[in-house]
Symmetry: none
């Protein structure tokens, strides 16, 4: 079950970054080998020196994304009350997407990856990983009465994650026309009010 920690060469990282930029700017449909190579200023076959196929590039993008939670949940931040840890995760994600809107385009485009088993599994596993982590924190919070117990942890997770995703989606569809971080904070405050337990 231990996941292999992939590392990428400098060139690979460039390709990944440029791919993400293309997706952000023009949509995932415009991520073609031709466009990618043109953006990088190299020939099309050059891409294939670094990635076996286009699918592998997409996998690398997702892989790249799957590491984010690991960074966000560093030990020092996970001290303190569960509700604060949850807040931290929520706002960290918001902050991350706010700075990397392309990532949201990729990670929330699950439908696009239906074509390929490896891709759809990867997307699913990232979602699961995240949800499991959040679920654990919520349950921990409930056991300490910091989070209300009359609602199952699973439902709270659904509400928290769903709100986060919907907020980011609206932001992207509106062409990033509002301040995501600011709005994210106020939405979180509302969520907190709803899920908080008696013992604060």
């Amino acid at each position: 079950m231990a996941e292999l920690m992939k590392t990428y060469t400098e060139r690979q990282t460039q390709i990944i970054d440029k791919s993400i930029k293309i997706i952000a700017d023009k949509g995932i449909q415009q991520l073609t080998i031709k466009n990618l190579s043109k953006s990088l200023g190299v020939s099309e076959p050059a891409i294939y020196r670094h990635f076996k196929s286009k699918i592998d590039i997409l996998l690398a993008i997702l892989d790249n994304f799957s590491k984010i939670p690991d960074e966000l949940h560093s030990e020092e931040k996970n001290q303190g009350k569960s509700i604060n840890i949850l807040e931290n995760i929520f706002l960290s994600h918001i902050g991350y997407f706010s700075k990397n809107s392309a990532q949201a385009a990729v990670i929330f485009s699950e439908e696009i990856f239906q074509n390929d088993t490896r891709l759809s599994e990867k997307v699913y596993s990232i979602m699961e990983k995240n949800e499991t982590r959040i679920l654990k924190i919520i349950k921990n919070g409930q056991s300490k009465k910091e989070i209300r117990e009359d609602i199952t942890a699973e439902h709270i997770a659904t509400i928290v994650i769903g709100s986060l995703r919907f907020l980011v989606t609206k932001w992207r569809l509106s062409n990033l026309s509002f301040n995501l971080e600011e709005k994210g904070r106020t939405v979180w405050n509302s969520i907190e009010k709803m899920i908080i337990g008696r013992k604060q």
Copy 2:
């Protein structure tokens, strides 16, 4: 502001339905004129007798979807407490998607429609229309103290819609492996607990 009520011929309806089925079964990327015509047992040009272009087929699918809320919010159902109307909307949507999983694939694939202005505008307008309606009900509920007032109506709408969307997405990604309607009901109960006002 009045929207034109489009009607479709029998053959057009067949094409729309088959398209939705293809999207449901194999993903939107597999909705090609070739696949579509093969599914219908006709030649490719035959499609063009009924729709001017592929984009128009997708628009028809979205148009089809945009009518759902109208059906769901029929007068008799909109009687009663706001919270019940909201519940009705939530469960109606869940029920609809549970029976038409392909529709969810289309309506939640906003990223795919970035390419075409008409498509992206249509998706956006459907989202807006829905949100506006829900917002109005929530505000009404708040004014009658049926829904809590210490959280803005906008945030409550974000949470309700976000949860709904996320639930449906998970269901689809899991290959419809759980009972969406059942889960939807329990999630709604949780949401209701969170947003309910004093005067019940």
Copy 3:
């Protein structure tokens, strides 16, 4: 050698006229059965009630054109000096094209008809017929010293017809931006000066 005088039904004439209009407005490439039927407000198969094929429509257009010289060279006009008869033909053609610019588009688009033997032969025969007639008038004029004899009748014909065609072509390419009839008259005067004989 005697040519069959074709007659057309009212509907056929409508189709021919509309075809000419389409060619005039949008170019011969836009003359498709679809466009034609749409313009006429009928279905596509309806066209085939009246013409066996698209080629036959084009033939009818050419046929239509081939009758023009007959009208223009009516007996009463052919009295008088050869140079005047020639002038009359030149200006009549100019006048006709000036009122029916689409006809020029068809009759001067010889390249387009290469595809089909019947079409290219028809175009060629129209050209020949015209040239023969003009040639005869010139020769007649030469024998009466009304037209100079130190240049072969054939060359004079080439110059007269070539100038006429080029003038009309330029007019069409310039989007009919100058007065064809006026310009035609002055060009004719110049031609006349060049080809006139001693005995005037």
Copy 4:
């Protein structure tokens, strides 16, 4: 005003030449990417490595043509009397078409290019460029009394160019059945007789 001198790769030149050959042999309607690639013995997409679109191929053909006058009017040939320069241009064009009959098919098919703005503008500009040059020579000749002054330079140009075009067109429509250069020379002699001034 300085025109960009385009250069073409070896492969591009092959494509241009083969395109011209197809037009010459079967007409411009038969110049399809499919026919072209088949003629070249490559796949259809191969063409697109070398030209962005079919329109660009046609533009290259025209571009190719637009360079001819430049070659023909080399300095050493432009010495001497205007009437001789004019003769030189006339016969050079005749000579060129006689060796490249396909070029005539392209350059005289103005109607075909109506569809595309870039194409029609290019054709028009080639025509204009040529006419302007000829006009200048004629005016020069008139000022030196080498060319008659009682007919405007513009009309002489119309007659010269018109005769040239008509001659080439007839030659093509007759399936190159006469010797164009020979006929061209005799026609030129006739034209010369008509336009020559007193001072020879």
